[in-house]
Amino acid sequence: MTAGNLSNLFIYATILILLLALITYSVALGDSDKARKNENIGTAFTWLAFGILLVAVVLRGISSQRAPWGNMYEFAITSSLAILGAYLFVSLKKEIKYLGVFVVLPSVLLLGLAVTVLYTEAGPLVPALRSGWLVVHVSAAIISYGAFSVNFALSVLVLLRGRFKFSRVPATERLDELAYRTALFAFPIWTFSVIAGAIWAENAWGRYWGWDPKETWAFITWLIYAAYLHARVTRGWSGKKAAAIALTAYASIVFNFFGVNLWITGLHSYAGV
């Protein structure tokens, strides 16, 4: 069995375990009696899934002998890893296990799309991507995507909190504060990723900014998160309004990944689909 096949196998295993995590987290969200116990089980599943996914991503890198970020499939599985990683990292320091469903759901959806629609066999990079900047630019983007995903999950909860009876979900202010902190972490990394991308673009295409669709949407994402950070310090804009901005910003990330890669022609056409 080659490293590539093993990687695929592990991806499927990850999806299975994440589905288990999703079920236990969902149960915990509705039922307050055994909530804590179920949340812990869900988190254990999530850790397991994270570990296996990490191995899968590394194996994928080994089988293609490069950083595993050369096409949409690889980007999707690594982003899924980053989402889980960001959540688990925060959960080590803060009590956020109530967030489980809202983090596991997007990552398992992403993995599902990866294996069904986006799948590409492992292979070497096209010349356009052969640059040290790939590692710098893309890894920064992926890390900030992970953190923005946690921000997204928290913002969803801010908006849903009043409508549903969730057990163990803290007050809006607390959710809001945590969401703000994840965005604080992610925003500079995203900024860095955009700058690194500009430097790379200057080296590869002869201009640092050319309003290529991918660049444009990265800029739009940046603007909306900038607005979000400002909203938080503007009177009357924290809470639900800020959460709505955060969701818009996240939507722009999702569009940049799927919409721009699959529907719009541009220079960043490395989907490999």
Partner: protein
């Protein structure tokens, strides 16, 4: 009417002030940020002139009426349109109006003495009291050593220490840097130039405006500023994936250039991501394709055409289209060509290339005669042959080396195939400044987001024979966690320095 009264009372100055206050408020800045994002969207969906004139023209042909309306709205040049510019200029004004007063306040805070501690600390954040044999003077020295800004009150009974001025400094630096980047981009756009060239193997390019296939320059660009150089494309190597995975994906593009600068000749290898750099001008390898060599002799045996003609690739397997125009023969001849590096005849799709490298080079030509319209004075697209008023005089499939006799006695020979490489050549004096601006913005952002401004008060609450009772408390707008850590740190520091 009441409303009118208010207007009158405000007066012109009042209105200006009111508008200025609105424009520089955080809420307006917020809306402008979101609006700018919204305004950027159409440019990512509709083709833009700056990126691809061809795709804009395609849109025009497909939807002529919609094109008119969109064009009026500037939707094909979104990022240069008046409404896009208006939004970001308003945003920049709002930004400037916001930071200038803040710079003043920050400067004042940095210069002015810091405030003395309140009389009672008991109800302040993180209050605690310790007994120590150090006096405030000693603690003051300790704090100063660790980069706190300090102030002992006039009566000597309280001490205030402060940290985190870098937060506001960073904030301001970030916003100034954003303004700076915007100006650098505008500056670059005024003086830059950029163009594309298509160079067939062994051909030479000299850096003058006329040699470019398309050339754009900023409003203040001067031709004299273009550096004097030329290069020959000595060799161009291309490699494609032949394995079962991602078959046909490009693997290697290597262009070997012989470069000539005044008084200097050298060889340089240019690959994607590694341009040729001369005096701030960079030449990037951006694409490639095939240029079949075609030789045409007339009915008298005279050679009327003998050249490599670049054929433009239409798909990833380099099914390419090209045109040969021979206006000065006895009879004007035009050839429409289709070149397939690995040609097959597909039952449904017709002649098509199935691999990007030359495994089975094939060309299909149709020959046309009549007035090619090249003497009409109207500029023509060299990659296009308008066949409306022409008469077709033949159709043939040729492999390299094949000859084809036309019915009018002309002979077309498909001699061989060369490769061409396309280069983007660009110069932008604003880029270094935009880069510096980005670095400053990044630094400012880190300080602005992660430095915490906090203040700690210490007050002498009782004097014993050997021990002083000192109360400590603090103030912060950001992280109380960090404040409490600072208080603990300070107490520890005091304990360490106590005289035994």
């Amino acid at each position: 009417m009441i409303e009118n009264n208010i207007q009158i009372n405000l007066g012109l100055g009042g209105w200006v002030r009111w508008i200025w206050r609105q424009l520089t408020s955080m809420t307006t800045a917020l809306w402008l940020l979101l609006l700018l994002g919204l305004a950027a969207i159409p440019g990512s969906i509709l083709p833009q002139r700056s990126a691809s004139l061809i795709r804009v023209n395609d849109f025009k042909e497909a939807n002529p009426r919609l094109f008119e309306i969109y064009d009026q709205l500037g939707l094909f040049e979104v990022y240069g349109s008046f409404w896009f510019s208006a939004i970001y200029i308003l945003l920049m004004i709002s930004l400037a109006g916001c930071i200038v007063p803040r710079i003043k306040i920050h400067a004042k805070n940095l210069v002015e003495p810091i405030q003395e501690a309140p009389l009672r600390l008991l109800n302040q954040t993180g209050y605690r009291a310790i007994e120590t044999n150090l006096d405030l003077e000693k603690i003051n020295k300790l704090a100063q050593k660790s980069w706190w800004r300090t102030k002992i009150s006039a009566d000597g009974n309280s001490l205030t220490i402060e940290k985190g001025y870098l937060r506001e400094t960073g904030n301001l630096l970030f916003h100034i840097a954003i303004l700076f980047i915007t100006i650098a981009v505008a500056f670059g756009a005024l003086f830059n130039y950029r163009g594309t060239i298509l160079l067939i193997e062994k051909d030479e390019f000299a850096n003058t405006v006329t040699q470019y296939d398309d050339f754009r320059a900023g409003g203040l660009f001067r031709v004299e500023r273009m550096p004097n150089f030329s290069f020959v494309l000595e060799d161009f190597e291309v490699e494609f994936e032949r394995g079962p995975n991602q078959t046909g994906s490009p693997r290697e593009f290597i262009a070997e250039l012989a470069v000539t600068e005044p008084g200097l000749d050298y060889q340089q290898t240019v690959v994607v991501n590694k341009p040729l750099v001369i005096d701030g001008t960079k030449a990037f390898l951006t694409g490639h394709g095939y240029a079949p060599v075609i030789k045409v002799t007339d009915d008298a045996g005279r050679v009327v055409f003998d050249k490599a003609v670049p054929f433009l690739p239409q798909d990833a397997n380099f099914t390419s289209n090209g045109v040969v125009k021979i206006p000065d023969a006895n009879e004007q001849i035009g050839l429409l060509g289709l070149f397939l590096p690995t040609g097959v005849l597909d039952e449904e799709l017709g002649p098509i290339s199935i691999f990007p490298d030359q495994d089975n080079p094939l060309a299909f030509f149709s020959a046309w005669t009549g007035d090619l319209g090249m003497d009409s004075g109207i500029p023509q697209n060299v990659y296009r042959l308008e066949t409306e008023n022409l008469e077709q005089i033949g159709l043939a499939q040729l492999a390299p080396g094949d000859r084809w006799e036309l019915e009018n006695g002309y002979q077309v020979e498909f001699v061989s195939v060369k490769r061409f490489a396309s280069f983007q050549i660009a110069y932008d004096p604003g880029r270094i400044w935009a880069f510096i601006g980005s670095i400053l913005a990044m630094v400012g952002l880190m300080f602005g987001l992660f430095v915490t401004r906090r203040r700690i008060w210490l007050r002498l609450e009782g004097i014993g024979s050997s021990q002083n009772k000192i109360g400590l408390a603090g103030l912060t707008k950001q992280s109380e966690e960090l404040l409490s850590r600072d208080l603990t740190w300070l107490v520890k520091k005091i304990r360490e320095s106590e005289q035994r």
